[in-house]
Symmetry: C2
Subunit: 422 residues, 2 copies
């Protein structure tokens, strides 16, 4: 790039959208030097680039090498039964690419070939069945975009372990377009005689942990998918290749990867994953269980601790994402003063059913400090609570289901920090 | 996997969905061997898998290594000014992952850092402007899913060079969720005085080819985006990192990658890319020009030459995708007899504006030969034409804008071939 364009005259940002772009008049450029577009050819325009045979399957460009999943070393005893975080701070739109979508494994991500894959349906069915992968492909299939959030997302905030970045506070989430067969179709194939009310399915994976969970049959017959593609292509190894369960709006632990068995029962199993884990311990030591649905939640992804404001006062795009397991997000508000006053953000598209929605507040920054918050509302009328409202009800012992309002303290130098607002 | 499940008794598919899954009764399994699920532990369930720190950015599993972009060696003189093809035969749903989305370069894919990026708007504007990448991030942005189809997609079919695979006949297309700033916002920032009618913008890229194209100002002010993300993350190098133009519904050649300049003019430039190339030569040797909009089109992706039927008669899912540059797809029909009779397919979701839609025909295969075709209709009432209808109007000299109905000849052994039906 020529010096004249590099230094350019685009510097002064005067606090209006009109000034967001710097003006270079043709006259000014010519006064400084012969037209740089003619006399100086940039490196990238002076030769040939990469051919179409070089990268059969592409990765992000090297300049984006920091936009990756990250884990937190001290969070778990090892990295096999652990979690990493989607780089939501650096993403926009709504779709999460599989390559950087968070992983949660209980005994590591396994390799299971399509040819070896089997799915058994047994228990209270007319005839137990075993499906091959090829069998599944012969059933009518559907496509839906859904978010998948780990119940422990934002869990470290409960007791004030406030990590400095949206990736770490809210990155146990992804949002993908799934292709799969409704579980209802497979259960009906096996045959469900008699009453469905009060019955359950127990679902488990083929990995060593098996990660079994009980799901009411009513949900299993509603919108649960036996999925084999995400964002158009095969599930990645770490997302359950070749087949995972998709349980829309419900906690990610129930979205069984490497799905191998579905048993129909007349009661829940009360497995480790729904007693010792994935229950919510209250202040008095008792626990809430069967807390499956992910309540409405939102987070501002930029500005945020990993995405400081790098310019002076003037036009600023505040953006983030919102979601609810109860259906559709209808409104997101943004506060710049820690919740004292609110402005309604723009949703970039109508909220999808149990899918992420992106919101923007196109605003003007005066260069002063801000206590940035977002507050989501969904179609049930539910409003995302503050941290103190949630603590009043739940205490501080919980690990799961923290959907409280998050606060970023943005300083006048543009740096943002994770803070608590009482 | 145990022998009893591997060989299993699921073999007989009797031509009904009810038989698509084979039954293994608990009794039968026990008669053959002690319960294999207890006595034999599969490899993948007997140890630990991959940890969450091992793959910060993931690629598809090794078993899917054939689902990649492919180029055709004889198609172009070199691979720098060439094209490759999306593996649409193996995809489902609607989103195309960036990693396998087709590439078309005129002088190769270049590397251009965000910090070096500049976008100039000049010509008939009140004040010429140069935007940095950071400037662009301060304008209100939008998210939309759009298809991008190369005008030459299906071009080899015109004169009967019938490649055997949907990837090669129809794979110059992808469909992604773009995040960007409306070009309208940037043009208004530069200031458009007086009449806009009759004016044009000339858009060019930063690569050596520059690939300049003229676009009517009316379109530029309508739905064109200056985009920096696709499917949530930064554009890949091969898709124009850091900034490309998105020209919804219009031929891919106008979606300028590495966008560097937009000039407002009172007439089109008549550049190489819109005179010598990207015009449609008719039978009499004259050429149609300004053929920007991609007409309604569809293709069956499975079964297809790369996706033979691997099972016997019975339940069969026929699937494919449809799109139109004129807005929304309203209906897709499928024929099994080369267009003599048609059945209306199921659209997996409402057709989006200038976006791919997935269709399914959930049917029963009698094991006989089929001449499979799909026929798309859009909201304007337009019906995708047959090859002979299109040839009657356009002759056989064209390279671009072949949107005719495609035929796959599926044989009784399940193998499919690209054939011409008169």
């Amino acid at each position: 790039m020529s010096d004249i364009l590099k230094s350019s005259r685009r510097a002064f940002l005067r606090g209006s959208v009109a000034a967001a772009a710097g003006a270079v008049t043709a006259g000014a450029a010519r006064a400084a030097t012969p037209d740089p577009l003619i006399t100086e050819v940039q490196d990238w325009a002076s030769g040939l680039g990469q051919g179409v045979d070089e990268v059969p399957y592409g990765l992000p460009i090297e300049f984006e090498s920091d936009v990756i999943r990250r884990n937190v070393e001290w969070l778990t005893a090892d990295t096999i039964s652990s979690i990493n975080f989607t780089p939501i701070h650096a993403l926009d739109g709504t779709i999460t690419p599989q390559g950087c979508a968070f992983e949660r494994h209980h005994s590591g991500a396994i390799e299971l070939k399509k040819e070896d894959y089997r799915l058994m349906i047994n228990g209270l069915v007319d005839r137990p069945l075993v499906f091959t992968y090829a069998d599944l492909e012969r059933f009518p299939r559907e496509n839906h975009v859904y978010f998948c959030e780990c119940a422990a997302n934002t869990g470290m905030e409960w007791a004030g372990a406030q990590l400095n970045g949206a990736q770490f506070t809210h990155g146990m989430i992804h949002n993908m377009e799934y292709t799969g067969v409704p579980l209802r179709s497979l259960l009906n194939e096996a045959g469900l005689s008699g009453e469905t009310a009060g019955k359950w399915v127990y679902v488990e994976g083929a990995d060593a942990s098996s990660n079994g969970r009980s799901i009411p049959l009513e949900k299993a017959l509603d919108d649960v998918l036996v999925a084999f593609k995400a964002n158009g292509e095969a599930l990645r190894k770490e997302h359950g290749y070749p087949v995972r369960l998709v349980v829309p709006g419900w906690e990610g632990n129930m979205w069984i990867k490497w799905l191998r068995r579905i048993e129909v029962l007349d009661q829940p199993v009360e497995s480790r994953e729904e007693t010792s884990k994935y229950t919510d311990t209250l202040a008095d030591g008792t626990s809430r269980k069967w807390t499956w649905v992910m309540d409405a939640k939102s987070v501002i992804t930029s500005p945020s601790p990993q995405m400081p404001i790098t310019h002076g006062p003037g036009p600023l795009v505040v953006t983030g994402m919102a979601w609810t397991g109860h259906g559709r997000i209808t409104r997101v508000d943004v506060s710049r003063d820690g919740g004292k006053s609110w402005e309604t953000a723009r949703l970039s598209q109508e909220g999808g059913n149990k899918a992420l929605v992106r919101f923007y507040l196109d605003t003007d920054w005066d260069g002063g400090e801000m206590l940035l918050q977002a507050r989501a509302m969904d179609e049930t009328g539910y409003v995302q609570p503050t941290k103190s409202q949630l603590r009043d009800v739940r205490g501080e012992n919980s690990i799961y289901h923290n959907n409280c309002i998050q606060t970023w303290h943005v300083k006048s130098n543009g740096v943002a920090e994770n803070v608590e607002v009482s």
